[in-house]
Point group: C2
Chain length 227, copies 2
Protein backbone atom coordinates (compact mmCIF):
# COMPACT_ATOMS: atom_id res chain seq x y z
CA UNK A 1 0.00 0.00 0.00
CA UNK A 2 1.22 3.49 -0.82
CA UNK A 3 2.14 6.01 1.81
CA UNK A 4 0.01 9.14 1.97
CA UNK A 5 2.99 11.29 1.01
CA UNK A 6 3.53 9.11 -2.07
CA UNK A 7 -0.16 9.45 -3.00
CA UNK A 8 0.18 13.20 -2.57
CA UNK A 9 3.19 13.26 -4.90
CA UNK A 10 1.24 11.16 -7.42
CA UNK A 11 -1.68 13.59 -7.28
CA UNK A 12 0.60 16.55 -7.94
CA UNK A 13 2.23 14.69 -10.83
CA UNK A 14 -1.17 13.91 -12.38
CA UNK A 15 -2.09 17.58 -12.10
CA UNK A 16 1.12 18.67 -13.79
CA UNK A 17 0.86 16.01 -16.52
CA UNK A 18 -2.68 17.02 -17.43
CA UNK A 19 -1.59 20.65 -17.79
CA UNK A 20 1.36 19.60 -19.95
CA UNK A 21 -0.94 17.52 -22.10
CA UNK A 22 -3.15 20.58 -22.61
CA UNK A 23 -0.11 22.67 -23.45
CA UNK A 24 1.26 20.14 -25.93
CA UNK A 25 -2.11 19.91 -27.61
CA UNK A 26 -2.32 23.68 -27.99
CA UNK A 27 1.16 23.84 -29.47
CA UNK A 28 0.32 21.23 -32.09
CA UNK A 29 -3.08 22.85 -32.84
CA UNK A 30 -1.30 26.18 -33.33
CA UNK A 31 1.12 24.66 -35.88
CA UNK A 32 -1.78 23.05 -37.74
CA UNK A 33 -3.67 26.34 -37.67
CA UNK A 34 -0.70 28.09 -39.23
CA UNK A 35 -0.61 25.48 -41.99
CA UNK A 36 -4.38 25.72 -42.56
CA UNK A 37 -4.02 29.49 -42.95
CA UNK A 38 -1.14 29.18 -45.42
CA UNK A 39 -3.02 26.49 -47.41
CA UNK A 40 -6.34 28.35 -47.26
CA UNK A 41 -7.68 24.97 -46.10
CA UNK A 42 -11.05 25.04 -44.38
CA UNK A 43 -11.29 21.25 -43.90
CA UNK A 44 -8.11 21.35 -41.79
CA UNK A 45 -9.49 24.32 -39.84
CA UNK A 46 -12.70 22.43 -39.04
CA UNK A 47 -10.67 19.50 -37.71
CA UNK A 48 -8.80 21.80 -35.33
CA UNK A 49 -12.07 23.30 -34.08
CA UNK A 50 -13.24 19.78 -33.30
CA UNK A 51 -10.16 19.07 -31.15
CA UNK A 52 -10.94 22.00 -28.84
CA UNK A 53 -13.56 19.87 -27.04
CA UNK A 54 -10.78 17.73 -25.62
CA UNK A 55 -9.17 20.82 -24.14
CA UNK A 56 -12.45 21.72 -22.46
CA UNK A 57 -12.60 18.30 -20.82
CA UNK A 58 -8.99 18.54 -19.69
CA UNK A 59 -9.68 21.91 -18.07
CA UNK A 60 -12.47 20.34 -16.04
CA UNK A 61 -10.18 17.49 -15.06
CA UNK A 62 -7.49 19.87 -13.77
CA UNK A 63 -10.03 21.76 -11.66
CA UNK A 64 -11.48 18.54 -10.25
CA UNK A 65 -8.05 17.17 -9.40
CA UNK A 66 -6.97 20.45 -7.82
CA UNK A 67 -10.07 20.69 -5.64
CA UNK A 68 -9.64 17.06 -4.60
CA UNK A 69 -6.05 17.72 -3.58
CA UNK A 70 -7.06 20.82 -1.63
CA UNK A 71 -9.83 18.94 0.18
CA UNK A 72 -7.98 15.70 0.95
CA UNK A 73 -4.31 16.65 1.16
CA UNK A 74 -4.47 20.20 2.53
CA UNK A 75 -1.20 21.30 0.93
CA UNK A 76 0.76 24.30 2.23
CA UNK A 77 3.51 26.66 1.01
CA UNK A 78 4.81 25.94 -2.50
CA UNK A 79 2.56 22.87 -2.93
CA UNK A 80 -0.48 24.99 -2.19
CA UNK A 81 0.69 27.66 -4.63
CA UNK A 82 1.32 24.94 -7.23
CA UNK A 83 -2.26 23.74 -6.92
CA UNK A 84 -3.85 27.21 -7.07
CA UNK A 85 -1.52 28.20 -9.93
CA UNK A 86 -2.64 25.06 -11.79
CA UNK A 87 -6.26 26.15 -11.50
CA UNK A 88 -5.41 29.52 -13.01
CA UNK A 89 -3.13 28.06 -15.70
CA UNK A 90 -5.75 25.61 -16.94
CA UNK A 91 -8.12 28.53 -17.53
CA UNK A 92 -5.47 30.30 -19.60
CA UNK A 93 -4.81 27.14 -21.62
CA UNK A 94 -8.49 26.53 -22.24
CA UNK A 95 -8.92 30.12 -23.43
CA UNK A 96 -5.96 29.70 -25.77
CA UNK A 97 -8.03 26.89 -27.25
CA UNK A 98 -10.97 29.29 -27.64
CA UNK A 99 -8.72 31.72 -29.48
CA UNK A 100 -7.61 28.93 -31.82
CA UNK A 101 -11.25 28.11 -32.53
CA UNK A 102 -11.88 31.75 -33.40
CA UNK A 103 -8.83 31.84 -35.68
CA UNK A 104 -9.95 28.65 -37.42
CA UNK A 105 -13.44 30.04 -37.94
CA UNK A 106 -11.87 33.04 -39.68
CA UNK A 107 -9.77 30.64 -41.80
CA UNK A 108 -12.89 28.77 -42.96
CA UNK A 109 -14.44 32.10 -43.97
CA UNK A 110 -11.26 33.27 -45.72
CA UNK A 111 -11.07 30.00 -47.67
CA UNK A 112 -14.05 31.16 -49.74
CA UNK A 113 -11.90 33.89 -51.30
CA UNK A 114 -8.47 34.05 -52.95
CA UNK A 115 -5.80 35.07 -50.43
CA UNK A 116 -5.52 38.84 -50.02
CA UNK A 117 -1.72 38.73 -49.90
CA UNK A 118 1.12 36.30 -49.25
CA UNK A 119 1.23 35.85 -45.48
CA UNK A 120 4.54 36.86 -43.94
CA UNK A 121 3.96 38.57 -40.59
CA UNK A 122 1.14 36.32 -39.36
CA UNK A 123 3.35 33.18 -39.54
CA UNK A 124 6.04 35.21 -37.76
CA UNK A 125 3.52 36.00 -35.04
CA UNK A 126 2.51 32.33 -34.82
CA UNK A 127 6.14 31.37 -34.37
CA UNK A 128 6.75 33.90 -31.61
CA UNK A 129 3.51 32.97 -29.83
CA UNK A 130 4.42 29.31 -30.06
CA UNK A 131 7.85 29.96 -28.51
CA UNK A 132 6.20 31.94 -25.69
CA UNK A 133 3.79 29.07 -24.94
CA UNK A 134 6.58 26.47 -24.95
CA UNK A 135 8.76 28.60 -22.69
CA UNK A 136 5.89 29.32 -20.29
CA UNK A 137 5.19 25.59 -19.93
CA UNK A 138 8.89 24.77 -19.59
CA UNK A 139 9.10 27.45 -16.91
CA UNK A 140 6.19 25.78 -15.14
CA UNK A 141 7.68 22.27 -15.28
CA UNK A 142 11.19 23.32 -14.32
CA UNK A 143 10.11 26.07 -11.94
CA UNK A 144 12.41 28.33 -13.94
CA UNK A 145 12.24 32.03 -13.20
CA UNK A 146 14.57 32.79 -16.14
CA UNK A 147 12.26 31.20 -18.68
CA UNK A 148 9.20 32.82 -17.13
CA UNK A 149 10.92 36.17 -17.25
CA UNK A 150 11.87 35.62 -20.92
CA UNK A 151 8.21 35.18 -21.82
CA UNK A 152 7.28 38.49 -20.19
CA UNK A 153 9.92 40.26 -22.26
CA UNK A 154 8.54 38.84 -25.55
CA UNK A 155 5.20 40.54 -25.04
CA UNK A 156 6.41 43.84 -26.48
CA UNK A 157 7.53 42.11 -29.68
CA UNK A 158 4.06 40.64 -30.08
CA UNK A 159 2.47 44.06 -29.61
CA UNK A 160 4.77 45.55 -32.27
CA UNK A 161 3.96 42.77 -34.75
CA UNK A 162 0.23 43.23 -34.11
CA UNK A 163 0.33 46.93 -34.80
CA UNK A 164 2.54 46.43 -37.88
CA UNK A 165 -0.03 43.98 -39.28
CA UNK A 166 -2.90 46.34 -38.44
CA UNK A 167 -1.31 49.34 -40.11
CA UNK A 168 -0.68 47.36 -43.29
CA UNK A 169 -4.22 45.98 -43.41
CA UNK A 170 -5.75 49.39 -42.79
CA UNK A 171 -3.83 50.78 -45.79
CA UNK A 172 -5.09 47.90 -47.94
CA UNK A 173 -8.69 48.59 -46.91
CA UNK A 174 -8.36 52.30 -47.63
CA UNK A 175 -6.98 51.60 -51.12
CA UNK A 176 -9.34 48.82 -52.15
CA UNK A 177 -12.86 48.31 -50.88
CA UNK A 178 -12.71 44.70 -52.11
CA UNK A 179 -10.04 44.05 -49.49
CA UNK A 180 -12.22 45.07 -46.54
CA UNK A 181 -13.80 41.76 -45.57
CA UNK A 182 -10.64 39.70 -45.88
CA UNK A 183 -8.53 42.33 -44.13
CA UNK A 184 -10.95 42.39 -41.18
CA UNK A 185 -10.65 38.63 -40.80
CA UNK A 186 -6.86 38.75 -40.94
CA UNK A 187 -6.88 41.53 -38.36
CA UNK A 188 -9.07 39.40 -36.17
CA UNK A 189 -6.61 36.48 -36.49
CA UNK A 190 -3.74 38.69 -35.36
CA UNK A 191 -5.79 39.89 -32.37
CA UNK A 192 -6.47 36.29 -31.31
CA UNK A 193 -2.78 35.44 -31.63
CA UNK A 194 -2.02 38.47 -29.46
CA UNK A 195 -4.52 37.15 -26.93
CA UNK A 196 -2.82 33.73 -26.92
CA UNK A 197 0.48 35.46 -26.19
CA UNK A 198 -1.24 37.33 -23.32
CA UNK A 199 -2.29 33.99 -21.87
CA UNK A 200 1.32 32.75 -22.10
CA UNK A 201 2.29 35.87 -20.16
CA UNK A 202 -0.35 35.11 -17.52
CA UNK A 203 1.01 31.58 -17.15
CA UNK A 204 4.53 32.91 -16.65
CA UNK A 205 3.30 35.27 -13.96
CA UNK A 206 1.68 32.33 -12.20
CA UNK A 207 4.96 30.40 -12.40
CA UNK A 208 6.84 33.28 -10.80
CA UNK A 209 4.21 33.52 -8.08
CA UNK A 210 4.34 29.78 -7.52
CA UNK A 211 8.12 29.60 -7.23
CA UNK A 212 8.79 32.76 -5.29
CA UNK A 213 5.47 33.33 -3.55
CA UNK A 214 5.75 36.68 -5.28
CA UNK A 215 2.94 38.40 -7.14
CA UNK A 216 4.50 40.40 -9.98
CA UNK A 217 1.31 40.95 -11.93
CA UNK A 218 0.74 44.57 -12.94
CA UNK A 219 4.20 45.75 -12.01
CA UNK A 220 5.61 45.56 -15.57
CA UNK A 221 8.18 43.05 -16.84
CA UNK A 222 10.98 42.90 -14.27
CA UNK A 223 14.59 43.17 -15.43
CA UNK A 224 15.43 40.51 -12.88
CA UNK A 225 13.28 38.70 -10.36
CA UNK A 226 14.21 39.84 -6.84
CA UNK A 227 15.52 37.06 -4.58
CA UNK B 1 -11.38 36.64 21.67
CA UNK B 2 -13.07 35.40 18.55
CA UNK B 3 -13.82 31.74 17.91
CA UNK B 4 -11.96 30.17 14.99
CA UNK B 5 -15.24 29.54 13.20
CA UNK B 6 -16.10 33.24 13.56
CA UNK B 7 -12.71 34.21 12.14
CA UNK B 8 -13.32 31.81 9.28
CA UNK B 9 -16.67 33.45 8.56
CA UNK B 10 -15.00 36.87 8.70
CA UNK B 11 -12.35 35.74 6.21
CA UNK B 12 -14.98 34.49 3.78
CA UNK B 13 -16.91 37.75 4.14
CA UNK B 14 -13.78 39.79 3.41
CA UNK B 15 -13.18 37.69 0.31
CA UNK B 16 -16.74 38.21 -0.90
CA UNK B 17 -16.69 41.94 -0.12
CA UNK B 18 -13.48 42.51 -2.07
CA UNK B 19 -14.95 40.76 -5.11
CA UNK B 20 -18.11 42.86 -4.82
CA UNK B 21 -16.05 46.02 -4.58
CA UNK B 22 -14.26 45.00 -7.79
CA UNK B 23 -17.60 44.28 -9.47
CA UNK B 24 -19.13 47.60 -8.36
CA UNK B 25 -16.10 49.46 -9.64
CA UNK B 26 -16.32 47.77 -13.04
CA UNK B 27 -20.01 48.59 -13.31
CA UNK B 28 -19.37 52.27 -12.62
CA UNK B 29 -16.36 52.35 -14.96
CA UNK B 30 -18.50 50.81 -17.70
CA UNK B 31 -21.16 53.51 -17.31
CA UNK B 32 -18.50 56.22 -17.43
CA UNK B 33 -16.95 54.59 -20.49
CA UNK B 34 -20.31 54.68 -22.24
CA UNK B 35 -20.64 58.39 -21.46
CA UNK B 36 -17.06 59.09 -22.60
CA UNK B 37 -17.85 57.36 -25.91
CA UNK B 38 -21.07 59.33 -26.43
CA UNK B 39 -19.34 62.62 -25.53
CA UNK B 40 -16.20 61.82 -27.60
CA UNK B 41 -14.37 62.79 -24.38
CA UNK B 42 -10.78 61.65 -24.16
CA UNK B 43 -10.08 63.29 -20.76
CA UNK B 44 -12.84 61.17 -19.22
CA UNK B 45 -11.44 58.07 -20.93
CA UNK B 46 -7.95 58.72 -19.50
CA UNK B 47 -9.45 58.99 -16.00
CA UNK B 48 -11.08 55.58 -16.36
CA UNK B 49 -7.80 54.04 -17.56
CA UNK B 50 -6.18 55.38 -14.39
CA UNK B 51 -8.76 53.67 -12.16
CA UNK B 52 -7.87 50.23 -13.56
CA UNK B 53 -4.79 50.13 -11.30
CA UNK B 54 -7.06 49.81 -8.28
CA UNK B 55 -8.66 46.74 -9.84
CA UNK B 56 -5.24 45.17 -10.30
CA UNK B 57 -4.48 45.65 -6.62
CA UNK B 58 -7.83 44.20 -5.60
CA UNK B 59 -7.20 41.11 -7.71
CA UNK B 60 -3.96 40.52 -5.83
CA UNK B 61 -5.78 41.01 -2.54
CA UNK B 62 -8.40 38.39 -3.41
CA UNK B 63 -5.72 35.85 -4.35
CA UNK B 64 -3.75 36.54 -1.18
CA UNK B 65 -6.83 36.22 1.00
CA UNK B 66 -7.93 33.03 -0.75
CA UNK B 67 -4.53 31.36 -0.35
CA UNK B 68 -4.41 32.41 3.30
CA UNK B 69 -7.82 30.85 3.89
CA UNK B 70 -6.79 27.63 2.11
CA UNK B 71 -3.57 27.41 4.15
CA UNK B 72 -4.95 28.32 7.57
CA UNK B 73 -8.62 27.26 7.54
CA UNK B 74 -8.54 24.24 5.23
CA UNK B 75 -12.13 24.67 4.07
CA UNK B 76 -14.14 21.80 2.57
CA UNK B 77 -17.26 21.28 0.41
CA UNK B 78 -19.09 24.50 -0.56
CA UNK B 79 -16.67 26.70 1.43
CA UNK B 80 -13.74 25.25 -0.51
CA UNK B 81 -15.57 25.74 -3.81
CA UNK B 82 -16.39 29.32 -2.75
CA UNK B 83 -12.70 30.06 -2.21
CA UNK B 84 -11.51 28.48 -5.47
CA UNK B 85 -14.38 30.12 -7.39
CA UNK B 86 -13.31 33.47 -5.89
CA UNK B 87 -9.81 33.00 -7.29
CA UNK B 88 -11.24 32.38 -10.75
CA UNK B 89 -13.80 35.19 -10.50
CA UNK B 90 -11.21 37.81 -9.54
CA UNK B 91 -9.26 36.97 -12.72
CA UNK B 92 -12.40 37.51 -14.81
CA UNK B 93 -13.10 40.82 -13.08
CA UNK B 94 -9.54 42.02 -13.54
CA UNK B 95 -9.68 41.13 -17.24
CA UNK B 96 -12.95 43.05 -17.57
CA UNK B 97 -10.90 45.98 -16.33
CA UNK B 98 -8.33 45.32 -19.06
CA UNK B 99 -11.09 45.34 -21.67
CA UNK B 100 -12.33 48.69 -20.33
CA UNK B 101 -8.80 50.08 -20.64
CA UNK B 102 -8.68 48.92 -24.26
CA UNK B 103 -12.08 50.48 -24.98
CA UNK B 104 -11.00 53.76 -23.39
CA UNK B 105 -7.79 53.79 -25.45
CA UNK B 106 -9.93 53.49 -28.58
CA UNK B 107 -12.12 56.35 -27.29
CA UNK B 108 -9.08 58.64 -26.87
CA UNK B 109 -8.07 57.84 -30.47
CA UNK B 110 -11.60 58.36 -31.78
CA UNK B 111 -11.82 61.74 -30.01
CA UNK B 112 -9.36 63.15 -32.58
CA UNK B 113 -12.01 62.78 -35.30
CA UNK B 114 -15.66 63.76 -35.67
CA UNK B 115 -17.94 60.82 -34.76
CA UNK B 116 -18.52 58.43 -37.66
CA UNK B 117 -22.20 58.01 -36.84
CA UNK B 118 -24.64 58.51 -33.97
CA UNK B 119 -24.03 55.58 -31.64
CA UNK B 120 -27.10 53.41 -31.10
CA UNK B 121 -26.11 49.74 -30.92
CA UNK B 122 -22.92 50.19 -28.89
CA UNK B 123 -24.79 51.81 -25.96
CA UNK B 124 -27.33 48.97 -26.27
CA UNK B 125 -24.46 46.50 -25.98
CA UNK B 126 -23.08 48.38 -22.96
CA UNK B 127 -26.48 48.17 -21.29
CA UNK B 128 -26.82 44.45 -21.90
CA UNK B 129 -23.24 43.77 -20.75
CA UNK B 130 -23.83 45.84 -17.64
CA UNK B 131 -26.99 43.85 -16.79
CA UNK B 132 -25.06 40.59 -17.29
CA UNK B 133 -22.30 41.72 -14.91
CA UNK B 134 -24.78 42.86 -12.25
CA UNK B 135 -26.71 39.60 -12.50
CA UNK B 136 -23.54 37.48 -12.37
CA UNK B 137 -22.45 39.25 -9.18
CA UNK B 138 -25.94 39.04 -7.66
CA UNK B 139 -25.93 35.34 -8.50
CA UNK B 140 -22.60 35.03 -6.67
CA UNK B 141 -23.76 36.89 -3.55
CA UNK B 142 -27.13 35.18 -3.34
CA UNK B 143 -25.91 31.82 -4.61
CA UNK B 144 -28.73 32.06 -7.12
CA UNK B 145 -28.80 29.47 -9.88
CA UNK B 146 -31.66 31.29 -11.60
CA UNK B 147 -29.69 34.51 -11.98
CA UNK B 148 -26.56 32.65 -13.09
CA UNK B 149 -28.59 30.77 -15.66
CA UNK B 150 -30.13 34.07 -16.91
CA UNK B 151 -26.66 35.41 -17.65
CA UNK B 152 -25.78 32.37 -19.76
CA UNK B 153 -28.91 32.90 -21.84
CA UNK B 154 -28.00 36.55 -22.58
CA UNK B 155 -24.80 35.54 -24.34
CA UNK B 156 -26.57 34.86 -27.64
CA UNK B 157 -28.06 38.36 -27.63
CA UNK B 158 -24.57 39.81 -27.22
CA UNK B 159 -23.27 37.75 -30.13
CA UNK B 160 -26.13 38.95 -32.34
CA UNK B 161 -25.50 42.59 -31.43
CA UNK B 162 -21.78 42.18 -32.15
CA UNK B 163 -22.35 40.76 -35.60
CA UNK B 164 -25.01 43.41 -36.37
CA UNK B 165 -22.51 46.14 -35.49
CA UNK B 166 -19.78 44.46 -37.53
CA UNK B 167 -21.93 44.09 -40.63
CA UNK B 168 -22.91 47.76 -40.50
CA UNK B 169 -19.32 48.93 -40.01
CA UNK B 170 -18.05 46.74 -42.86
CA UNK B 171 -20.60 48.32 -45.20
CA UNK B 172 -19.46 51.80 -44.13
CA UNK B 173 -15.81 50.91 -44.80
CA UNK B 174 -16.62 49.49 -48.22
CA UNK B 175 -18.49 52.64 -49.20
CA UNK B 176 -16.13 55.23 -47.82
CA UNK B 177 -12.38 54.78 -47.33
CA UNK B 178 -12.41 57.75 -44.93
CA UNK B 179 -14.51 55.65 -42.57
CA UNK B 180 -11.95 52.82 -42.28
CA UNK B 181 -9.90 53.92 -39.28
CA UNK B 182 -12.85 55.00 -37.16
CA UNK B 183 -14.86 51.91 -38.08
CA UNK B 184 -11.97 49.63 -37.03
CA UNK B 185 -11.85 51.32 -33.64
CA UNK B 186 -15.60 51.00 -33.14
CA UNK B 187 -15.40 47.35 -34.16
CA UNK B 188 -12.66 46.87 -31.61
CA UNK B 189 -14.84 48.47 -28.90
CA UNK B 190 -17.68 46.05 -29.67
CA UNK B 191 -15.26 43.09 -29.51
CA UNK B 192 -14.06 44.21 -26.06
CA UNK B 193 -17.64 44.57 -24.86
CA UNK B 194 -18.30 41.05 -26.14
CA UNK B 195 -15.28 39.88 -24.17
CA UNK B 196 -16.61 41.54 -21.01
CA UNK B 197 -19.87 39.68 -21.51
CA UNK B 198 -17.88 36.44 -21.88
CA UNK B 199 -16.27 37.11 -18.52
CA UNK B 200 -19.73 37.62 -16.96
CA UNK B 201 -20.65 34.22 -18.42
CA UNK B 202 -17.52 32.68 -16.88
CA UNK B 203 -18.45 34.11 -13.48
CA UNK B 204 -21.94 32.65 -13.73
CA UNK B 205 -20.48 29.24 -14.54
CA UNK B 206 -18.31 29.50 -11.45
CA UNK B 207 -21.37 30.37 -9.36
CA UNK B 208 -23.21 27.30 -10.62
CA UNK B 209 -20.17 25.15 -9.88
CA UNK B 210 -19.85 26.69 -6.43
CA UNK B 211 -23.48 26.16 -5.46
CA UNK B 212 -24.09 22.78 -7.01
CA UNK B 213 -20.60 21.34 -7.17
CA UNK B 214 -21.50 20.97 -10.83
CA UNK B 215 -19.22 21.90 -13.71
CA UNK B 216 -21.43 23.04 -16.58
CA UNK B 217 -18.70 24.70 -18.61
CA UNK B 218 -18.68 23.71 -22.25
CA UNK B 219 -22.04 21.95 -22.16
CA UNK B 220 -24.01 24.93 -23.52
CA UNK B 221 -26.55 27.03 -21.63
CA UNK B 222 -28.79 24.66 -19.65
CA UNK B 223 -32.57 25.11 -19.85
CA UNK B 224 -32.68 24.30 -16.16
CA UNK B 225 -29.97 23.35 -13.71
CA UNK B 226 -30.36 19.68 -12.71
CA UNK B 227 -30.96 19.10 -8.98
Amino acid sequence: MKHTSQQFEDDLTRLKDTLLLMGGMIESMLQETNQALLDNDSAAAFKIIERDKQLDQMEKKVDELAIQILALRQPTAIDLRFVTASMKICTDLERMGDSLVNICERITELAKFPPLKPYKDLPKMVKLTSVMITKALDAFVNQSLDLASDVLKSDDEIDELTSLIHRELIEMMKNDSNAVERAIKLMSISKYLERMADHATNISEQVIFMVKGLDIRHSGPPKSIPD
